[in-house]
Each structure stands twice: as C-alpha cells, then as structure tokens.
C-alpha cells in the first residue's frame, strides 16, 4: 500500500518534554507544503512525565477526521512501546528511539521497525541536559522529514520564524533536524512508501483551534466582560479572549475596554456573567462539564428571570471528573435541560473552529434577542486541537442584535410598561439599570407576573411560564439551521458538532460501497422546521453521537415526537475523536441486515 499525501502517523512521547512544539512544527510544515493535514493531541491530565500521543493525518482529499488506521508510529516513549507497537496497521512502520534498544518481545510481525538513536545523537551533540531533552524532539522531526519527504526548507522557515531572535537556539535546532534527517537517510530507504508531495490546497486556509476561534469571535461580537474559572479543556478559550482583548481593546492611555475576571469558582463566574448581562454588557463564561453542573441553579435563574448570557461548554469525558483530557459529547442533556423545574435552553453546536468563530456573535445575538442563557456546546477535540479551516472572515456591516431593549425614549412613548409582557413571539421587552422611571423593575427568580411583580397566584405564574414556552418555540427557527446534504434517500444520518468530519467521510465511503444516505448536521436547539422535516422524510435515521446514553436521539424524540423505531443510534464514547469507519461499519452493517 503506497500512497502520497494520504496517510497518518502518530508520535508517542512524554508530556512536559517539549514534544508538543515539535509536533506542531511537523503539522505546520505539511500545511505549508499545501497539503491538507489534521492533528489530534492525546494528552494526559497531568503536567509532566506521563505518556502523550500526537496523531497527524495527511489527506489530499481534505478529510479531517481522526484516522482509523495508523501507518506509521513514532515511538519515543519506551513506557508505551508495548501498546504503541500494537497500533501500527498491518504492513505499517514503526520508528523508535534506538538509544534504548527495543526488547525482542516487543517486535511485531508485518511491521517495519526503524531505529533512530535520537537520544544518543543528542547526548553526543549537545551539552546541557535541558537541550538534550528538548532537542531530542527536533531530531525525530528531522528523521520524519527524511522518512516522509517533508520539505526541509519549510521546516527551516518555520524554525526561523520562531527562533529568529535567538540565533544560538536556531542553530541548535537546525543541527538537531540535520542529525535526524541524515541518520534516517543514511540508514534507511527514504522516503517510505507513503510520503508527502507539495500541493496547493491550503493557501486559503489557516490552522486554528476552536477555543482560540471563539475567543476571537467574542471580541468581534462585542463581548466586554468575561468571567471564568480554569478548567480543562476550556481554559485556553478565556486565555485567547484575554490575549485578543489585550491586543485589540487596550486604549492608547493603557485603559481597557474590557474586564476579565478569574472567579473563585464556576458558580461565581455564572453569577458575574448574569450580573453583567443584566447591566447591559455582552458577557460570557466558558467551562466544562463539572462547571455546567455547578452552574445549574444560576442557569435556571437566568432562564426564568430572562437574563441573557452565553456559556461555552467545552465538553470533556464525564461523568464526574472523568477524563479531563479526552473528548465526548455527553453534556447535551445537561445544557439543553439545565436546572430544576421546567427549563429548556438554546444551544449551538459548532462543528469546527470556523463555526466557533461565527457562532460567537450568533450566540450573543440569540441570548439578547431571547433574553435567555445560550450554550455553545463545543468539545475538547474542537476546542484544543488545531484544525485546518478556511480563513476567518468578518462582515463589517454586522450590527449586534441587542433585542428588545427599551431606553428612556422608548419608554416615554409607552403609557405603561410590563417587563414580562409578550411583545410578539413570546418575547418580552427589557430595560437596563440606569434607565429609571417606568422602566425600573425588580428582577427575581421567584414567582412573578407579566409585569414582574411578585406573585404566588397560579394563573399569573402560569401566564409567564407559558409565554416563555412560546418564546422557545420562536427560537426554534432563529437558531442556526441544520446543514442538510440530501439526494432524496430514505436513509438519513444525523450528527452534531465535531463528528462532522468523520460522518462526512463516512457518507462518502458508504457511497463508494453503493450505500447512499442523506446527512443532516444539526447546529442549534430548539430544533427548527428543517430538522423536523428531515426526521419526517426519512424512514430510517442513524443518529451519530459521542455519548453512551444517546442524548441527541433522546432530544429528537422528546422534542419532535419522532417514532423511536426509526432512530438508530451510533454511539462512540470512549474519549477519542470519532473515526469514519465506526459510522461506515454501523450503517453498512445495519443496511446489510435489512437487505438480507
């Protein structure tokens, strides 16, 4: 099996040893060669000393899902040799650091083993311990350049961009690349049967992670207040927002057009965001599952008192602390139905960093329009891995949709104003503190009537709750519409979020096998008309999701009354990004069962 620009490799290292930058360098080099590439970082919930893997997929067709098979494993961590050897596909290759010879029992048939003494080469060449550890990563990068035909000029260019101001460091890096490159060239036939060749498929693209993209989108959307509590995998989102604010929102006199508060916990972060939105700012928080659980009470308050806010849930593996550095789509329920009592919330489901960016202004617009919490339900894979996506664009004609906010002039025209009266579509109008007069009102999470006055009267209470229900119905057709790829088949596939790459690829592969299916990717909750139509128009529908309990399928049933018998689950919840074959196998298997 020989292939150009269509293979995958994986590097096994130890975290905290500098391998992360080497791996980024590899991925970036391939990207700069114009070849579509994706990287998935599989790292431990610890700071230093534990196994970590980086999977790079090169795909001339632009598939970005996690690869089902690894052609080439670079085993730099002796502790995981044993398991790493097993993950090479039959007929694949294994490179390892031969400074520590591989035990006999670890060899595998049907795999070509390539020893490169990276550690030894470093020890011979560099003096300081620290350099030896760090540059070992650059040595394997050099070796890979030889094995895979990575353009050395591109690597050099990247190193120069990075270390341009530190000539000695740059020099050492060049040396290290050379060490690996030369050793490989000298001792093995290079390149391997799969290798790289320049293309021109990435010039309009960027490499970015979803957390960065959302942080950037929040700046463009006009968010001025961020409140958060650190938690993997959402931390880098607020870090990005902070950095972009520093860059774009610092005035000449050093004053800031924003404030970002590291709260004492997620309850406090939620409270701050609610307070800030109530006062009229666009404010948001980002968190992960445990934070969503802690925010439940506040979410219900905002729902019922109708205070807008935006919360990004970068999902990780639950339940409980779970696996903080693994990915899952298992907070769908916790977000959509958050809090006690009858509550439902608007959710947006970005599929990649590009949508993290575009959904940022959408989230704020929806939150303010509907005066309710809005969740952007991302995940670790989207949020923390670098994805190749088209350059981001901003429409300069964008005007924030602040919804029905009445100022003093608006109020002057009204004889009487009631905070929770329906002004159309179940949506009330609101005022901001400072307006006074008949615009002043008392926000409360306890029973209130359509005018915001405290009540314990059943019909009054019910009138407000029913209006909120109506509002939610209106929202169903205001959230981003699903992306539907239909050729009029009876069989459909539904997915959300980050599995889109794998499902898209699966649909193509299925077609190659003669199985054609329609595909709908849902992007918002509540479900709009298009979602209902798709459900109605298909006889059998596979619902692909990364959780154990078929949460999306459940939501579809609950909200649309779809007959459960036609909704077939494809569940994958072990913590890694989805691979296309899981979907292909499940669909093909089912279809075969039906046809036979």
């Amino acid at each position: 099996m020989s292939s150009q620009n269509d293979f995958s490799f994986k590097i096994a290292t130890v975290n905290g040893t500098g391998s992360a930058s080497a791996n980024t360098l590899l991925m970036q080099s391939i990207f700069r060669m114009g070849i579509p590439v994706t990287g998935k970082n599989i790292f431990p919930s610890n700071i230093q000393g534990l196994p970590t893997w980086y999977e790079i997929r090169v795909s001339k067709d632009g598939y970005n899902a996690r690869p089902a098979e690894i052609d080439f494993v670079v085993a730099m961590n002796p502790e995981t040799y044993k398991q790493d050897v097993k993950t090479v596909r039959d007929g694949g290759y294994l490179m390892y650091d031969s400074s520590w010879p591989l035990a006999e029992e670890l060899h595998r048939e049907n795999t070509t083993v390539l020893g490169v003494p990276c550690g030894e080469l470093c020890v011979k060449t560099f003096e300081r311990d620290r350099d030896r550890v760090l540059l070992r990563n650059i040595v394997y990068t050099g070796a890979l350049a030889a094995f895979l035909d990575i353009d050395l000029d591109v690597i050099s260019e990247l190193l120069r961009e990075k270390f341009g101001k530190k000539p000695k460091v740059l020099e050492m890096n060049f040396t290290a690349v050379k060490l690996g490159y030369d050793y490989a060239k000298k001792n093995y036939t290079c390149p391997l049967p799969f290798s790289l060749k320049r293309m021109n498929a990435t010039s309009e693209h960027i490499l970015i992670d979803g957390n960065t993209a959302f942080g950037l989108g929040a700046v463009f959307a006009g968010a001025t207040v961020g409140a958060w509590y650190p938690i993997t995998p959402s931390t880098s989102l607020m870090d990005a927002f902070t950095a972009f604010c520093q860059q774009y929102r610092t005035n000449a006199d050093g004053t800031k057009n924003y404030i970002i508060i590291q709260a004492e916990d997620e309850l406090s972060a939620a409270g701050m965001v609610i307070g800030a939105n109530w006062a009229g700012a666009r404010a948001f928080t980002s968190t992960a599952g445990p934070g969503i659980s802690l925010m439940q009470e506040f979410i219900g308050l905002a729902y019922y008192a109708e205070v807008p806010w935006v919360c990004v849930d970068v999902q990780r593996v639950g339940p409980a602390t779970g696996m903080p550095t693994r990915t899952q789509q298992s907070d769908l329920f916790s977000c959509a139905y958050a809090s006690h009592g009858d509550t439902k919330h608007i959710c947006l489901y970005p599929a990649d960093p590009g949508e993290c960016f575009t959904m940022a202004p959408q989230a704020f617009d929806l939150a303010e329009l509907f005066q309710t919490p809005v969740f952007v339900v991302s995940d670790l894979d989207i949020g923390m891995n670098d994805w190749m996506i088209p350059r981001l664009e901003w429409d300069d004609t964008y005007v924030p949709n602040r919804g029905r906010v009445l100022n003093a002039d608006d109020l002057a025209k009204l004889e009487k104003w009631g905070r929770y009266q329906d002004t159309g579509g179940g949506i009330p109008s609101r005022t901001l503190p400072g307006v006074g007069g008949k615009g002043a009102f008392f926000t409360r999470g306890s029973g209130h009537n359509l005018n915001g006055v405290y009540t314990e009267d059943s019909p009054e209470y019910k009138a407000v709750l029913d209006r909120i229900t109506l509002k939610f119905k209106t929202a169903a057709n205001a959230v981003p519409k699903p992306i539907v790829a239909s050729t009029g088949n009876d069989v459909g596939v539904i997915a959300i979020g980050g599995t889109n790459g794998a499902v898209t690829e699966a649909v193509a592969h299925l077609k190659d096998q003669g199985i054609t299916v329609d595909y709908m990717r849902i992007r918002g909750f509540p479900f709009g008309d298009e979602v209902v139509e798709f459900l109605e128009n298909h006889e059998r529908i596979f619902v692909v999701e990364q959780n154990r309990d078929a949460q999306l399928r459940s939501m579809l049933m609950i909200e649309t009354n779809t007959n459960p018998n036609k909704l077939l689950s494809i569940l994958d919840y072990a913590g890694l990004p989805l691979t296309a074959n899981v979907v292909v196998d499940a669909v093909a298997g089912q279809m075969a069962g039906v046809q036979s």
Binding site: V219, T255, A270, G271, A279, A281, R391, D396, P433, G436
Partner: protein, 353 residues
C-alpha cells in the same frame, strides 16, 4: 386590611434633597416582613441615606440574595432596578453588574444566612476583589425565612425559640472582613438609626467594598430572652466605638458643626471626608490591626462593638482601578469601539498559517 396592623415606615419630613426629591421618592413596595422586623428599620435608614446623599434613584442598583433580609431591596427605591438573585450569590451578580456598568451605586443586601453560610465564599472573594459596593448584612443570628434555624453568626449559648442553645462558635463578619483586607468595615444596629444612617452614607460613597454588619433582630424567631441578637440584648451590649460623620464633598463646611471630641479625618477618593468621632478611648479606625484587636476584645467581653470600625480612604485596589478599566462604563461603549473589523482580522489570519 390584614389583621396585623403595621405602622407605615415613618420618614422625618417631606423636605426636598439636592435633586428636589423627597424621601417618598426613595420608597419602595409595601414591606411583607413581620411587623417589627429589624430589616424594615434598615430599609428606613437606607431611604434616608440615599435621600441625604442625593443619589438619583435610577442610578442605583439594588442587589440581593434570598431570605427575609434579601427581600428588603424591594421595599425602597422603586425607581431603581433591583435584582433578587439566588441564595448566597449576590456578591458575584453584583460584581458582574459593576464590571459592566461602573457608573451605578450598588447596594447589596444580604442576611447572615445568605452571607455567612451558603454565600461565605462569594462574600470573601468580593472583599478580596474590592468591588465597589455597599454590602449590608442584616444580621439576626437565624434563618428567618426558613423559620428560625441558627445561622453561622449565632453566638455560643444563644438560645432558639424552643430553648436549645447554639453550641458552635460564630463567624464574625467584621473580624473576617478585617482579616481579608476589606477597606471599609462597620457594624451597627437596626434600632440605632442615628448611628446607622451616616455609616450607610459613608459606605455608599466608599471607593471599594464597604461592609456593614447590622444587627437586625428577627421578632418572629430570635427576639426572645436568651437570644443574643434580640433588641434587648443588642441595646444592652452595644458599645459604640467610633461614630462616623460623613461629609459629602460639597457640603463639607456646613456639616462641620456635627463634629465634637477627638476627631480623625479620612479623605475619600472623591474628596469627601469621613470624620471618626471616637467614643472609645484610643481607638484609631484607620489601623487595621488595632481595629481587629479591639473588636475581638469586645466580643470576648460579650460586647457588640458598633460604629465605623475601619476604613482606608481612597482605595487604590478597587476592582476597576486594578484592571485599568476605561472610565466610560463598558455598557456605554459602541460596537465600533469594541470590534476590530475585518481588515485587522485578515492581518491576524497570517499568524495562523
């Protein structure tokens, strides 16, 4: 007419303040608290304080958690926005509101349950952030709204209505605030309006977090013999340590006459002055350590130290000051001042290749 006749809260006069408003303009909805509840007296004092300070009602925001005490925000200044949030979490909601709009006067009202049990962490962190607000604890030693359980401020030996004595040591919000570096710390008594009003005024003008622990008896569950938060007990054990005259900037001179005895003056960030009239010998309300020692000493003697106990004038650690937030409230910034635009974005995109 209910069978409980409640005397309407009385206001001294219908005089007009600097804005041409009378105290009526600072009133709120009819109180639904028990007749005689200390919290209603705090409400009355707040009305006076806001009125005397000429705060335009719509420029204030009334924040609270959940409890009888937290309900009181509904009973004054109906022209202000109010936010009755969730139990124990008023500090965070207020911090966020203040982050967004620093131009309002924030008054947070809480109870001892709301602040010292479920909300203790948030209170401490709001102090640490030095969020500009006046934080009033209406402290009655019990959970009024849930019918009289001891709160964390209940004194050892204080008895519940059914007779059992509290055994656990109380958390004293004043000592706590002093330890956490609060820049304005006071204690008062709902039954002592003369003392309470000037302290409230000073707290409202303080540039940072101002904490006032107001002993505010619960007539329904904690005003009996044996309680240490009853009207009687508080009156008998109250020791005024430092009285404050608050002197708003532009009235500085006319109020001079109020001063008598040894005076310490602290100038606030806006130039207004607080004068401490020491009623306890050797009391220096600008010395944190001394304040702590003195208050602790009173507690050990079974006395309730009241007055403006500690204050740092012109605080440099207020949240926005530390953050260097622009003076214009963030809510008033136009989108164009916030959005970098597509040209900048395209430039940035180069870095992601």
């Amino acid at each position: 007419m209910t069978s409980i006749a409640k005397p309407p809260v009385k206001h001294p006069s219908l005089r007009k303040n600097g804005l041409g408003l009378t105290t009526r303009d600072y009133e709120g909805a009819m109180s639904t608290l028990c007749a005689g509840c200390g919290h209603d007296s705090v409400t009355a004092a707040l009305i006076t304080a806001f009125w005397e300070l000429d705060v335009p009602p719509h420029k204030a925001a009334k924040m609270s958690g959940i409890g009888c005490s937290s309900k009181t925000t509904a009973y004054f200044m109906k022209q202000s926005h109010g936010f009755n949030s969730v139990h124990g979490r008023m500090p965070s909601v207020t911090s966020g509101a203040n982050a967004a709009n620093r131009s309002l006067t924030y008054i947070g009202i809480s109870g001892d349950g709301d602040s010292l049990s479920i909300g203790l962490g948030q209170l401490c962190h709001a102090i640490r952030r030095n969020v500009q607000m006046l934080y009033v604890i209406e402290n009655n030693g019990v959970y009024g709204l849930t019918k009289g359980q001891f709160s964390a401020s209940a004194d050892v030996g204080s008895t519940a209505k059914r007779g059992e004595a509290n055994q656990m040591q109380p958390i004293d919000p004043v000592l706590l605030a002093l330890t956490l570096g609060a820049t304005f710390v006071a204690r008062s008594f709902s039954g002592d309006k003369a003392q309470l009003v000037p302290i409230l005024k000073a707290g409202l003008r303080h540039n940072g977090f101002a904490l006032i622990d107001v002993i505010s008896p619960c007539v329904s569950f904690n005003d009996h013999e044996g309680s240490t938060k009853s009207y009687k007990y508080t009156r008998e054990h109250e020791v005024e340590i430092a009285a404050a005259d608050f002197v708003p900037l532009r009235k500085e001179i006319s109020q001079e006459q109020g001063a008598a005895g040894g005076l310490t003056s602290v100038t606030m960030h806006d130039g207004s002055i607080v004068r401490f009239r020491k009623t306890a010998a050797d009391y220096n309300p600008t010395d944190r350590g001394a304040a702590y020692t003195h208050v602790k000493h009173c507690i050990d003697k079974g006395e309730v130290a009241t007055g403006l106990l500690f204050m740092e004038g012109g605080s440099q650690t207020e949240m926005h000051t530390l953050n260097k937030t622009v003076k214009t409230p963030l809510v008033d910034l136009a989108h164009k001042d916030l959005c970098p635009g597509n040209a900048q974005l395209q430039e940035l995109m180069g870095e992601y290749r």
